[in-house]
Amino acid sequence: MALLEIQDLHASVEGHEILKGLNLTLNAGEVHSIMGPNGSGKSTLAAVLARRETYEVTRGRVLFNGKDLLEMKPEDAACEGVFLAFQYPVEIPGIGNAYFVRSAMNAIRKFHGQDELDAMDFLPLYKERMKILEMDDKLVNRSVNEGFSGGEKKRNEILQMAMLEPKLAILDETDSGLDIDALRIVAKGVNAMRGPDRAFLVITHYQRLLDYITPDFVHVLVDGKIVRSGGPELALELEDTGYGPSEADVPQALPA
């Protein structure tokens, strides 16, 4: 059974159809990359999979581990093992970074009938993973993402992923705005988590990230549909030729 099976997915935001019949299958252990121009629906796909309620699914179905993902609330999808690394991580003043992650871990553990972790069990693990991501200890008790630099916010997303150990990790343009050092660190964090039980959906605009995280499959998303699929070499080809024959079909009025 595939880990994620998306069939004929149509989704709209405020009445505008963004996804127009998307099909995609991911198996555990695989890394898929989705590339495409701005406005093609990459972030919409990520948001739908994370169950953001402002995105309305009008047709199609999505199975996650054999269960209907579209029936799930965001917290249920997370507990089942879906993780979204946000393109724009949200600042939450007043909630400590470590406290937040521990609350999330315990919510997920509770869902699976496991005992909660106390701070003593949690902190050493958290700090160890922070070290891999070369994050400052000071960020432990700072409010979630508040006053973090762009790079710190993205690393913080990967840190949360490393702690929550999802089955499916969706990285929504995690590379945007990162300098090469931060990119390397983020990639190191992701690569450390690759394994036979986990799949990644890496959404990106640029080939650059894929130099560090080698995908098994690359898909090109244009105007709400996947128009081409291939191996890692496809990303390199796109770097040279752009988004291929379908690019001409992209309406000019899309936001830059």
Binding site: K73, P74, E75, V90, I92, I95, S103, A107, Q160, L164
Partner: protein, 496 residues
């Protein structure tokens, strides 16, 4: 009985207000007769002046700028009775749940009367005097040699010097009413240089007496120079009956004293509570006022610090959390009278259902108060479309070299933040609760680590958990509206 009503706005409201002054007149008459022997002359005079003031002015209407957002018709309409001492018995078991863990001592008052059997004084250092104000004054009456300072309990010297000297009975009719009608309250004196580590808990209990009762607790706290102490003034109810607590506390901080005052309002939803905290800050003092309003139906929280000595610092910190039809009104009057003082006002409000909040922050900088640094921030979170906040800054500056800032925000829980938390596995109610708690925690962050802080943190946590539970998004608002819930007794909104 003299002068004319000086507020000629809404005649009906005035009529309602004056009509019921009779019950207060009766109470005053009784009290004066009972206390003929007990009250010293200066106190009788204080009562009489205050009574005249109250009687002349009556209860304010919404035409009074200081009461614009709070309609007192429901309060003025109710006939409150004086509570007869000992008419209601409260057991230690009944107040056990109100205990403040880590408090050094607890003074208990039931319906305004001192309850020695519930009071726990513990092992107090002899640098702290604490007792019932009424008893302290009785002591001044029996031993007429002022130098024979009492070896037991407390030495009442200085009461005459301070009591009623700060609360503004001219401007504030509730302070006047309290000054005329108070029967008891706490008296605290912290000796020069004394450091009292554990918080002092003053528990004011309203317990149903079959009729609507009124109490006018009066507290006097004298913190001598360089002393340190924390006091928790705590208003609670037993049962669901209506009561009116009209409290006045005068806190006098001597030079370089460091004092924290906590007001905790957690009475039942039928309670009327007006509390006035008058702080007098001498040179170099550092005084904090933390007001935590969680309960009560109609609550007015007056905080009036006067920075009367150079270099004094005052923190005026508060959190009010209202739901149902609660009305929580915060009136701050911060007076800078001397140079180089700083004041910080931070009030956070969370309002759900049809609750209404008011924040009126007035800062007065007198002519001599150069280099004043005054800041005011009021932040509000509205959880329903029917909740309402009125926030009003008011600056009066008569000095020319000052720094005064103010700001207010009103917002909702951000959907972005809610989704972020939920996307990590935290279910919606908990996520809401976390966000509410984070907002409220700004108020806790401004308190020093202490048992008092832990105590209020746990109260706030419980209150917000209830709020988040009751607050399943969108749907219930309509249900609340369709069910006519005690509309007649619980509406404080101005009509028309």
């Amino acid at each position: 009985m003299s002068t004319t009503a000086n507020n000629t706005g809404n005649e009906n409201a005035m009529a309602t207000a004056t009509e019921k002054l009779g019950t207060y007149l009766e109470a005053y008459g009784e009290l004066i007769a009972e206390r003929q022997e007990r009250d010293p002359v200066w106190l009788r005079q204080l009562r009489e002046d205050a009574w005249q003031r109250f009687h002349a002015k009556g209860f304010p209407t919404t035409h009074d700028e200081d009461w614009r957002f709070t309609n007192l018709a429901a309060l003025a309409k109710t006939s409150f009775q004086r509570a007869v001492e000992g008419s209601v018995t409260v057991s230690a078991g009944q107040i056990e749940k109100f205990r403040v863990p880590g408090a050094g001592c607890r003074l208990v008052f039931v319906n305004g009367h001192f309850a020695p059997e519930l009071t726990e004084i513990g092992d107090l250092p002899d640098t702290l005097e604490i007792c019932s104000l009424e008893r302290a004054i009785a002591k001044t009456m029996e031993g007429s040699e002022p130098n024979g300072s009492g070896s037991v309990g407390c030495a009442p010297e200085g009461i005459e010097q301070h009591l009623g000297r700060y609360a503004d009975v001219r401007r504030d009719v509730f302070a006047a009413l309290n000054t005329a009608l108070w029967e008891d309250g706490a008296y605290l004196r912290i000796h020069r240089g004394a450091v009292i580590e554990q918080p002092i808990h003053l528990l004011y209990v309203s317990a149903g007496a079959g009729a609507a009762i009124m109490t006018h607790p009066r507290t006097l706290i004298v913190a001598e120079p360089t002393s340190h102490a924390a006091v928790i003034e705590d208003y609670v109810s037993i049962g669901e009956e209506t009561a009116f607590s009209n409290a006045v506390t005068e806190l006098v901080a001597g030079q370089d004293a460091v004092v924290s005052h906590f007001l905790v309002e957690r009475e039942n939803l039928a309670a009327f509570n007006v509390s006035t905290l008058r702080l007098e800050l001498a040179r170099g003092t550092n005084v904090s006022s933390h007001s935590i309003l969680l309960g009560g139906g109609l609550v007015r929280n007056n905080v009036h610090p006067v920075l009367a000595g150079e270099g004094a610092e005052c923190l005026i910190n508060g959190l009010f959390v209202g739901a149902g039809r609660q009305h929580l009104d915060n009136y701050m009057l911060v007076e800078h009278a001397q140079p180089q003082c700083s004041s910080r006002q931070f009030y956070n409000g969370i309002l759900d259902d049809h609750a209404r909040g008011v924040f009126h922050g007035r800062i007065v900088v007198h002519k001599d108060a150069q280099k004043t640094d005054a800041k005011q921030t009021n932040r509000n979170l509205l959880l329903s479309d029917d909740a309402r906040i009125d926030t009003k800054p008011q600056l009066e500056i008569y000095a020319d070299d000052v720094k005064c800032t103010h700001g207010a925000t009103i917002g909702q829980i951000e959907e972005e933040q809610l989704f972020y938390l939920r996307s990590r596995g935290i279910e919606e109610t908990s996520a809401r609760n976390l966000l509410l708690y984070a907002f409220a925690a700004e108020c806790l962050d401004r308190m020093n680590d202490s048992p008092a802080r832990e105590f209020v943190a746990s109260l706030i946590g419980e209150r917000l958990t209830d709020l988040a539970k009751n607050h399943q998004p969108a749907a219930p608002v309509a249900q609340v509206e369709s069910a006519p819930v005690k509309e007649e007794t619980q509406s404080w909104e101005e009509v028309g």
